[in-house]
Amino acid sequence: MNNINSSDLSVTKLIEKSLEKRNQKERYFRIYGLSSLVIAVVFLLTFFASIISTGYQAFIKTDIELEVFLDSEVIYPNGTKTAEDLFFVDYDSLIFTSLKEQLPELKNRNERRQARLILSSGASYQIQNKIIKDKSLVGQTVSFILPLDDEVDMYLKGYVDTESSENSRKITDFQIALVENLNKKGLIHKNFNTTLFVSGDSREPELAGILGALVGSFMMLSITFIISFPLAVSAAIYLEEFAKKNMWTDFLEVNINNLAAVPSIIYGLLGLAIFINFFGFPRSAPIVGGLVLSLMTFPVVIIASRAALKSVPPSIRDAALGLGASKIQTTLHHVVPLALPGMLTGSIVGMARALGESAPLIMIGMVAFVVDIPTSITEPSAALPVQVFLWSDAPERGFAEKTSAAILVLLVFLVLMNSLAIWLRNKFQIKW
């Protein structure tokens, strides 16, 4: 009796001991799971912190306020007052005259040259445009807000290490002193960077903007939606409502699923070989980009639309068919309207993916340097994600913050599109 009791006890002990171990393992496993989630969260936070911290300053730009005397002798040197003359005026000298008034300490040529470089090379265009708009300004002293050179801009935003040796940076000690002097006089202002949103690409960071890329991306997305949504929805209707289950349908299905997983760069090769080389479409044009993105989005929308059609209960179809509607009438009048919110949601998600896609666009030549804002779908154009790629490659430091700013704008658009999709889903989705 005693014997059995003691062995019983040892078994219980053994089990208790192993139970402790097992519970320990259970806790560890749980911690692994939680930490994997934490890693993802930490990454996401680092990611946003890094992008925002490099990019937020790009939404601000530094300008200099100068009273420029629009000397009619400089503007109309021949005395003739024709409009064409205005394109050939040395506006830089006008600006420099007024800058010299603010900086009387400039002594020799070298110092004057350095002072000239404080202003952006785009400053003269601003004056030119204003005069062309209003010719009566000639002869008056007008106050202008002019852009500063990107290196000065970087210095004022605190990116330049003034302790480092002068040779290792692009802004000289003398220029820094001049800028500080101007700053003390209250001539340098920080404004919201409208240039970023109203101009196209430029070689100068302070003049570069994303409007061209935005317009190009918008054109491509419109083409993508117009082409891929109706076609993909019809294909989904065919596969879900009409196709009989046979080899042919199986083949189609495998085909579509594979297309959805083909690397995007392959679609770029298709665009290059077929649309550009074979059909002779223009390079870097939104029409080609739109066609390529439509082909890419097509399978994605089909898969989403099929899921939406599947979720419509068969009783709807049975009721319509029972009342004498034809198969097409049942589908188009009853099933599709009910599935439409789901289809739209899926296609917006697909479009958001297309908006962020850059590899196929690079293949069809959208990496070209395009300054002009495109006005038609056959003109060369940039695209927002490709603009990010181009700027990230640029050596000037000013483009690094521009890249982050463009990324932020891109992310804002993606968030907007996805929120629209979620809103549509919540508003119109019917729980059966």
Binding site: A40, S234, A235, V254, N255, L269, F279, L295, G356
Partner: protein, 464 residues
């Protein structure tokens, strides 16, 4: 002037739509008139649709095919008219010439001086464009109106318009499905033809098994390395190295994420974690690439200096890490699907026998879900192999045959991009090599995807 043409085109397009509407009215009113005396088969609208359809569809078909073929046709007309003058142009000169006269006739600025020949070509080009535009309008109008004439004559009391329309709609559905096949065929044609031309210049064996990749062809024949080497093994090794690093990051984290979210997490954690993973999945790859190049690579290099290792600033490790983070959501959502497809009865059975939750997961759920998880991992691998932007922005350019993750390697996609961006020499093995790489990439990912999708599908059917 160019703007004027565009305006005219939109006016013409609008008037065609107006004619379509009028045709609809005509068909419908004829049906209504017939209905006054006798019965008709379908609702009057269907007769309207029928007549409108027979106008609009031929017009659209002609318009679309014109859009695709007119440009190359007009160009070849211009070139054949000027055959004598350009007989000794080489391919690049011809292409420059074509671009030149197109830009000139459209009033864009062109660089370089404008020769007389170019001017003549430009005027020929705009002449042919006008002719083709006029022809297009007349062709569309006459064929469309002919279609309308035939169809309105068919409208009668015995004609079954609805059935006809439904048949057409059915055809349209079928045709849109076939676009999927067209796309696949397009991909195959675009890469296969150029790849075949490439393999005419470079041996297939040299390409698949060569150990040296240096596609830069020298300009002079006698220069060192003038032949260029097209051995793709270094690219394959680089691609696989980066993909393996990415999978080593993504699979454990993604899988544990899925397990934690589906088996352990309280519902409020799940409510926050799911959208977070969706955000991660929605970030464009170009942004990941920027992050890899600007933040991760310098961090790793600094870390390496601190520890005393030399880590290249384009190291496979950094690229693989970021790519791994990119595919975490993919692995996580696919595993989540398969884990929740495991029947609850299996969990209950295991828990009922006294297993702890983690034992149930490790010994019952994961083995049951394994085929699905393997399918998901294969899909993730295909995604990693085909990923372009991250590697283009953060990986190296020079093809080095190494499996050291701290070294810079290059990948198939990086090489495709570098070979095709910038000025292309047509027909040079350098350009064609990009298509051969594209073909390899396509075939490889196709096989991976096919098996992955089959495995996942089989697995789903098992528990349904």
């Amino acid at each position: 002037m160019y703007w004027g043409i565009k305006k005219m085109m939109s006016i013409i397009a609008l008037s065609f739509l107006l004619i379509t509407f009028l045709n609809f009215r005509a068909g419908r009113s004829k049906a209504l008139k017939i209905r006054e005396n006798t019965t008709i088969h379908s609702l009057p609208e269907y007769y309207g649709y029928y007549t409108a359809f027979w106008f609009l569809i031929p017009v659209t078909l002609i318009g679309i095919s014109w859009l695709f073929f007119s440009e190359s046709l007009i160009t070849s007309f211009v070139l054949s008219n000027l055959q004598k003058e350009i007989v000794n142009f080489n391919e690049i000169q011809t292409l420059n010439f074509i671009n030149g006269f197109k830009n000139l006739s459209e009033g864009r600025n062109i660089t370089g001086e404008i020769s007389l020949l170019l001017k003549e070509a430009a005027s020929l080009y705009s002449y042919f464009s006008t002719v083709s535009n006029t022809l297009l309008i007349f062709a569309c109008l006459s064929i469309g109106l002919f279609g309308f004439y035939i169809s309105i004559n068919k409208v009668s009391s015995v004609f079954q318009a609805r059935n006809a329309i439904e048949k057409y709609i059915n055809y349209f559905f079928l045709a849109s499905t076939c676009i999927a096949i067209l796309a696949t065929a397009g991909i195959l044609f675009s890469v296969v033809f150029e790849a075949i031309r490439f393999f005419g210049l470079v041996d297939l064996d040299d390409f698949l098994f060569g150990l040296k990749w240096s596609p830069q062809m020298a300009i002079r024949e006698d220069q060192v390395g003038s032949s260029g080497a097209f051995g793709a093994i270094p690219l394959f090794v680089g691609t696989i190295l980066i993909s393996i690093i990415a999978l080593l990051v993504a699979v454990p984290i993604g899988l544990m994420n899925a397990i934690y979210l589906s088996e352990y997490s309280p519902s409020n954690v799940r409510a926050y974690a799911k959208p977070m993973l969706e955000i991660l999945a929605g970030i464009p790859t170009v942004v990941y690439g920027f992050f890899a190049a600007i933040t991760v690579a310098p961090f790793l290099r600094g870390l390496g200096e601190f520890v005393g290792l030399s880590i290249s600033s384009e190291s496979a490790l950094g690229v693989g890490l970021v790519m791994g983070i990119m595919i975490i959501p993919l692995v996580s959502s696919l595993s989540d699907d398969v884990i929740s497809a495991v029947p609850q009865s299996m969990r209950d059975g295991s828990l009922g026998l006294g297993a702890t939750k983690s034992e149930t997961i490790k010994k019952v759920i994961l083995p049951a879900a394994l085929p699905g998880i393997v399918g998901g991992v294969l899909l993730a691998a295909s995604r990693a192999i085909g990923e372009t932007m991250i590697v283009v922005m953060a990986a190296g350019l020079s093809a080095k045959l190494t499996i050291n993750p701290l070294d810079a390697v290059t990948t198939v996609t990086v090489q495709i991009v570098t070979l095709l961006v910038g000025d292309q020499e047509f027909d040079s093995p350098k350009t064609l090599a990009a298509f051969a790489l594209g073909l390899t990439l396509f075939v490889f990912t196709l096989v991976l995807n096919y098996f992955a999708l089959r495995i996942v599908k089989k697995y789903r059917e098992q528990y349904e």
